[in-house]
Symmetry: C2
Subunit: 422 residues, 2 copies
Amino acid sequence: MSESFKSNPSRRAFLRGTAAAAAGAVAAGAARAAEPDPLITEVQEWASGLGDGVDATPYGLPIEFESDVIRRNVEWLTADTISSINFTPIHALDGTITPQGCAFERHHSGAIELRKEDYRLMINGLVDTPLVFTYADLERFPRENHVYFCECAANTGMEWAGAQLNGAQFTHGMIHNMEYTGVPLRTLLEEAGYSAEGKWVYVEGADASSNGRSIPMEKALDDVLVAFKANGEALRKEHGYPVRLVVPGWEGNMWVKWLRRVEVMDRPVESREETSKYTDTLEDGTSRKWTWVMDAKSVVTSPSPQAPITHGPGPLVITGLAWSGHGAITRVDVSKDGGKTWETARLAKPGEKMALTRFYLDTTWDGGEMFLQSRAMDETGYVQPTKTQLREVRGLNSIYHNNCIQTWWVRENGEAENVEVS
Amino acid sequence: MSESFKSNPSRRAFLRGTAAAAAGAVAAGAARAAEPDPLITEVQEWASGLGDGVDATPYGLPIEFESDVIRRNVEWLTADTISSINFTPIHALDGTITPQGCAFERHHSGAIELRKEDYRLMINGLVDTPLVFTYADLERFPRENHVYFCECAANTGMEWAGAQLNGAQFTHGMIHNMEYTGVPLRTLLEEAGYSAEGKWVYVEGADASSNGRSIPMEKALDDVLVAFKANGEALRKEHGYPVRLVVPGWEGNMWVKWLRRVEVMDRPVESREETSKYTDTLEDGTSRKWTWVMDAKSVVTSPSPQAPITHGPGPLVITGLAWSGHGAITRVDVSKDGGKTWETARLAKPGEKMALTRFYLDTTWDGGEMFLQSRAMDETGYVQPTKTQLREVRGLNSIYHNNCIQTWWVRENGEAENVEVS
């Protein structure tokens, strides 16, 4: 054979024992001392008959073999399942888009059923003309499309107390990333004619909890979106159908679902959700309040406790997600030794503002144990801190905004465990 | 009240009769002569009780009220539903991502069930070392993420004969757009060590039809992807689980599902799918063959026959999709008078190469009839042609590659119909 184009020889070594042998058993003229792959000599049922027709699934679900890729909740976390949360199976996903069907939910009085015909959105308060929009009204305003991450402020919250939950889904799964279609809130505020005295908006939803939050006017007029589609289709019931608020880069709690009312005010409401909840008490007794912006954060999703390494030494793909509410992720580093040394990972695409960024480290595993970490940096120059660094600033009483570096202890057998390293 | 910030007054007029009146009935101190909105005085059940808990749907489906947003097939199009096609409900979608669950399917022997453990991918032919990869092997190679559209070459094919199908879903719905995660085919070809004599690859799938196609080596080494995730999660059964080929910008038929084998060859195979099918006979008796690249194309998805205008004159959002296999969409124009005059639409985002682009025209409807069209341009300078222009070049015997300008006749009552205009 004439010249050929080959890859780096070190990687081919890992395949030689498996793939080459299997191919050798069937490739014409090649004699190799290897066990033939039994699969290739048996009848392959899927290749020998007809499959499902095009009328089988008007709206499809994942194949049954992907039953690991589901939302999960942790029963002991909350008193009931109604005011509660579940977690996105980030250990099993790749890319950046989170399918609506397995994207985490956080409800305060459960997910409600609200029809488009019944839907109303009121804009009132310090405005020239209070207005009540129907869903059909909203569809007549100019729309925008944006991909944004939504992270609950309590994401990773259990980990303040230590390495508690054994899986990236549970430690970091209060997050999703979707392409939203909607009308800028600014457009609706201008429609009502907002007063120059308006410094805040109070937003609430149509569910029993209403989940009212105060948002400063600068943010409301900036990039807040009144959204009615996610990943191309209507919002799912559990994601606020038919309309939710999207507050890019800010706490998930503010992304009010089943959005019902926006009131322009000259002061904040200081609702339950921004005083009793979503605040953190520091060691000196004062509380961090209105910690709106989600700080830069990252996590290795694979390998991880729910995604152990199932092969031997050799080529290994380490992958994970990074994000920042302050703008675009610029860099992610990965460590295999608990933060002693770092390598810079490859970003699948340049970081997008307030959206999930996928990173990869294509590396070689020597088969030994690893203490895997990732560390994100965003465009402000901020670097994701260690848990020790965070605790020094926040003390030990925090619930929210735990964006510390996560460590997975990966053992020689490929299994991983959530640990803390100093 | 002090100064306030208002939008353009012409748009506020449309709301005055509805929204303002409704708000007026409840806003403090405002007396308006209008019927109170009955909805606001009745008990709102959804606001008065608890909704679903977080364990209700480990993997969710759309809310029942969105039952229009499904794949549909046209029974008389094919002899059976096994070697057949269905259509994406593009009339009801927005943004650019197509959810896997309602993304169109085209099968030649039905959608098969193939487990990851049973999956094998062979690379053979003019290579140093024939290889057979397991799914687990593929996960060890460097991955990439890309958003690409996939369009069947037969999309809009029925319309060659005239204005046949009454809906954008049916005229243009053999298309979807997803974020793919996978390994470049180039990587795997280098792994096997492809020969300099290799000018083509022959790709086939594991289903009974195998759907073999020949792809020129330059394309195979360029951006062809061996993909195993779409929109973050595993490919759906009907989209080729667990692995499919992604051939950016090229005919959907080449995006072999359940990818089984890639053979490096010094000549094309001239399989059934590239001779008997996916070719078009011209008036002089010769055939267009290997018309790989999907030309620039666009369609207005709303208003359209399945998405009539349900409001009166005033603000109207005209929206649709544009795409090109030759690169990025640079501009989309919209006409309301069947192509006599054109306005340039707003692109939701700058065009991305080989991905769907969403466009909007935020306009004012005078309530009269319209002949709505859209016309796309891509980065090569190519302009989407009219049907007349296309027929002059292709004759009347074509089945595939109908990328002509589409016309919807919108009547005063808001209903739309598929028509041809000269």
